[in-house]
């Protein structure tokens, strides 16, 4: 999912952001007028364009899922990473690092399947699955970032009289920020892809046309959903990149 979402992003990275944004918005708003095109591609289909919800509605719902889950994941991931790299939580570091590494090999569909008995259908199990899944890359990136802080800078900061909190806010976090930012970017892109699966448990998302297309043998729906999701991933990835450059 991650590789699929990132490779077009990387290839199109030199496209100006606003051009990509325009293409994406055009896909969202002008999808109904592509009916003749899809009709020509799939002449047997009665309804060649997904109309149960507008693509704008789907995109908004999709973004809500992604934003909410990534925000919670960032909170948990960064918080946990900070805890296990402090004196008080040091003993949990090996355990947490191992969990983060192993957890990412666990398929998100399985997380979703496990969440349903607890949370029923709809947005709730989707959010839980997305949070669980995207916490791990943020956690891992934050730990890596804190480890990349030069020991001599940490040592000098303490030696010159920084408090532990001052050391964290003014030395460690700023130096780890590029790593943390990369982790957030990664997690967001993963979530944009993974959120489509939420539609299999009844959450509204850009996965809805894809899943309905699959079950009703309507390849046009699948293509439409996939195009908008990929463009969303590319646009967001490009936005992160632009922001990253602006911050440096």
């Amino acid at each position: 999912m991650e590789a699929e979402a990132q490779s077009p992003g990387a290839r199109a990275a030199h496209w100006p952001f606003f051009l990509l944004l325009t293409v994406f918005l055009a896909a969202v708003f002008l999808m109904p007028s592509t009916a003749p095109l899809f009709h020509w591609l799939f002449p047997d289909l009665l309804r060649p364009v997904y109309t149960r919800a507008s693509f704008f509605e789907l995109t908004v719902a999709h973004c809500e899922l992604v934003f909410a889950s990534t925000a919670v994941a960032a909170f948990i991931g960064i918080g946990t990473a900070l805890y296990v790299t402090r004196q008080s939580g040091k003993e949990f570091l090996p355990l947490v690092s191992a969990l983060a590494a192993i957890g990412q090999t666990f398929p998100p569909v399985a997380v979703l399947a496990l969440a349903i008995p607890l949370l029923g259908y709809g947005a709730a199990p989707t959010l839980v699955a997305l949070v669980l899944y995207s916490t791990l890359p943020i956690l891992e990136a934050t730990i890596a970032g804190l480890y990349a802080v030069p020991g001599s800078a940490r040592d000098a900061a303490l030696g010159l009289g920084f408090s532990p909190a001052g050391l964290l806010w003014r030395i460690e976090l700023p130096l780890a920020a590029p790593f943390i930012f990369a982790g957030l970017r990664n997690a967001t892109i993963i979530n944009i892809g993974t959120a489509t699966i939420g539609s299999s448990v009844g959450a509204l998302s850009l996965g809805s046309p894809i899943l309905e297309g699959l079950s009703a043998s309507n390849p046009a729906y699948v293509i439409e959903g996939a195009i908008v999701v990929s463009l969303l991933a590319v646009v967001v990835d490009r936005a992160f990149e632009t922001l990253e450059q602006a911050l440096n």
Partner: protein, 311 residues
Amino acid sequence: MIEVDSVSKTFGALKAIDGLSLKVEDGTFCTLVGPSGCGKSTLLRMINAMIAPDTGRISLRGADIATLPPDQLRRGIGYVIQSVGLFPHWTVADNILTVPRLLRWPKEKCAKRLDEIVALTEVDPAWLSRYPRQLSGGQQQRIGVARALAGDPDIILMDEPFSALDPPSRASLQAAMRRIHAQSKKTIIFVTHDIDEALKLGTQIVLLNKGRIAQTGTPQEILARPKDEFVETFIGGTAPRLRLLDFEPVSTRMRPETNVQAPPIFADASLKDALNLMLSESCAMLAVQDRDGRRVGTLTVADLIEAPHGS
């Protein structure tokens, strides 16, 4: 006064500091010298509570440092760490002003202090807006020294602060430290593995070996009376007898005769300068003058070897 009282520190099986006691009076320029791994950095880092001793206590102006809040304590102690450790995401100016800002000095005071420090440590003002990675190792080390001095601390701990500097830069920073010490009477503890640097700067030399003090005293005491074979070997390469001539003025060895003609030397010049003048003038005798140019005595090469009777 800094007082280290029977302090020990063990890392695993290694006794890095072994029951060490040391007193450093206020205003002392104390140089800590010894072979690599003898515990110099460890001892230094115990004085600003970066390392807690296993046993023993360290007190500063009578107060046990273990009872003081560590960040407050450290803001009042300048510290140059051995690995320099500039903050890579801060400009040189921000790095230098680290402690003044921790102490919440007002903006104007910080700006004024920055100018003073830049002049004092001979930092090129063009570096101020650069980032540490844009400076060479020696240039970074100079900024490390500037940063340690910026908060105007009474006590300065320096861990091999000049190790990466070329000889001219090193000499000029050594001179700057001496000037700072002479003007402000700060207490400086200066780690080096270079005995020559230790003798040149220190008013008190502490020679460390395997976590213990091999000998401590003034440079003259160490040079004239090495306590054991270790000290003797350690100072051996510095031509100690010749070196001692540095610390003694001509006036202590001259004889009162004033009638012989010879090249002139001032009475407060060092015996080493006198010897150097004899060698360069190819003569065995010098006419000693006071600062007003009045003839006050005569120095012969024999007096350099043995002090004349009655002087």
